[in-house]
């Protein structure tokens, strides 16, 4: 298919939105919060891999769950093979 003549190749064709939804903290949707028991954690990364919010940081030795975004679904607690993620009720705010 021929290229349109009036458009130089350098023109950005499509660009992603410059404003991500990470501006939208979803942590207040949560009624139960996960806590990782660092002593029992084996570093298998499954909590990171299966997080529907993509809010688990694995830069350190023990994964860190970003509670600004965590909605408290509990998938990490179900999937953790070492059973080191515990869900606990949050105080009403």
């Amino acid at each position: 298919m021929p290229r349109l003549k009036d458009e130089p190749l350098s023109t950005p064709v499509v660009t992603p939105s410059a404003r991500p939804m990470s501006e939208n903290p979803t942590g207040d949707w949560r009624s139960v919060a996960p806590r990782i028991d660092a002593e029992k954690c084996t570093g298998c990364l499954l909590c990171w891999k299966f997080c529907p919010e993509a809010c688990v940081d694995v830069a350190g030795e023990v994964p860190r769950i970003d509670l600004h975004y965590c909605k408290g679904c509990g998938v990490c607690a179900t999937e953790c093979p070492a059973h080191c993620v515990h869900m606990s009720e949050e105080a009403a705010s």
Binding site: E7, S17, P20, E23, N24
Partner: protein, 293 residues
């Protein structure tokens, strides 16, 4: 431990999906496989909401919202536009739910597959119109309750065999995936990216409010769907059929059905019928796997 899938995240936190949504995991893995040089085309579906309202967006790639019936047609147009402007590299992916694929979008889907458009079409299948409040779609399995299936016994009609419909179009690549197997899913999207022509990926995507189960069990149910044989992981590349996971002994389908409130009205004989159907389907799939076609 070394991560088994890319740590690059194109899907951002802060998206608008329900707790434990399977469709967000699906998008997360799909974009890990495809990378940033991708355009996503959405018809009306859950992801229309999950993506967030403009100007914000929860995926780090360009996104075009299309009318409900038009995902495959709009994606074909985006691809043609990119080609016209000299961009042959960017992957265009139509991303639709089961309603926008099995029912409302099937004409545009069939047309694009027939023309062998150079796009990926992914159906994330949560087995009903979940975004609008759980109405039955062609992807709803028999026995599953929805808001539009009268009585307690759920859908009378079986799930439409969409994969067979797509296979009949003789397209270069068809694959199935589900979030409990991230490595498999990322690999399939990465592989689809390298293939030219129409590629179709069918993802079973568990939905806590629609299937009526605890939000923590999304990945568990996705895994049980495969372990019980309710959902088969396979791919068909250039006509060659391959089961990606062929369990030596399948778990009884009840283990998948029981945790889901949508199957609460199932009678024991209906469960036995589902088991018989799964067994018959696996006999065929195993034959195809052995034959390689």
């Amino acid at each position: 431990m070394k991560p088994s899938i890319s740590v690059d995240e194109l899907m951002t936190s802060g998206h608008q999906a329900c707790q434990g949504c399977g469709a967000t995991l699906t998008m997360r893995y799909a974009l890990k496989g495809l990378g940033p040089e991708t355009v996503v085309v959405l018809p009306a579906c859950c992801w229309t909401i999950i993506a967030g309202a403009a100007p914000r967006c929860s995926i780090g790639v360009p996104l075009l919202h299309a009318p409900f019936a038009a995902a495959a047609a709009a994606a074909s147009g985006v691809k043609a536009g990119l080609s016209a402007r000299g961009d042959g590299r960017t992957t265009v992916m139509a991303w639709a739910g089961d309603g926008g694929t099995y029912d409302i979008g099937i004409q545009a889907l069939s047309g694009a597959a027939d023309r062998d458009e150079d796009i990926i079409y992914c159906c994330y299948d949560n087995e009903a119109y979940m975004n609008t409040g759980i109405q039955r779609s062609g992807g709803t399995p028999s026995g599953a309750w929805t808001m539009t299936t009268p009585g307690k016994e759920g859908s009378e009609r079986p799930k439409k065999d969409l994969d067979a419909i797509m296979e009949a179009h003789r397209i270069p690549y068809i694959a199935t995936a589900t979030p409990a197997y991230p490595e498999d899913m990322v690999r399939k999207f990465a592989k689809a990216k390298t293939i030219k022509g129409f590629r179709f990926i069918h993802v079973l995507s568990p939905c806590p409010p629609g299937w009526k189960y605890d939000t923590a069990d999304t990945v568990k149910l996705s895994r049980l769907a495969v372990q019980t044989g309710m959902f088969a992981l396979y791919e068909i590349a250039e006509g060659r059929f391959k089961l990606n996971l062929n369990p030596a002994k399948r778990k009884p389908v009840g283990e998948y059905l029981k945790p889901q409130g949508r199957f609460r009205g199932l009678k024991p004989d209906a469960e036995a019928a589902i088991q018989a159907e799964v067994d018959a389907r696996w006999a065929l799939l195993s034959q195809r796997h052995a034959r390689g076609t």
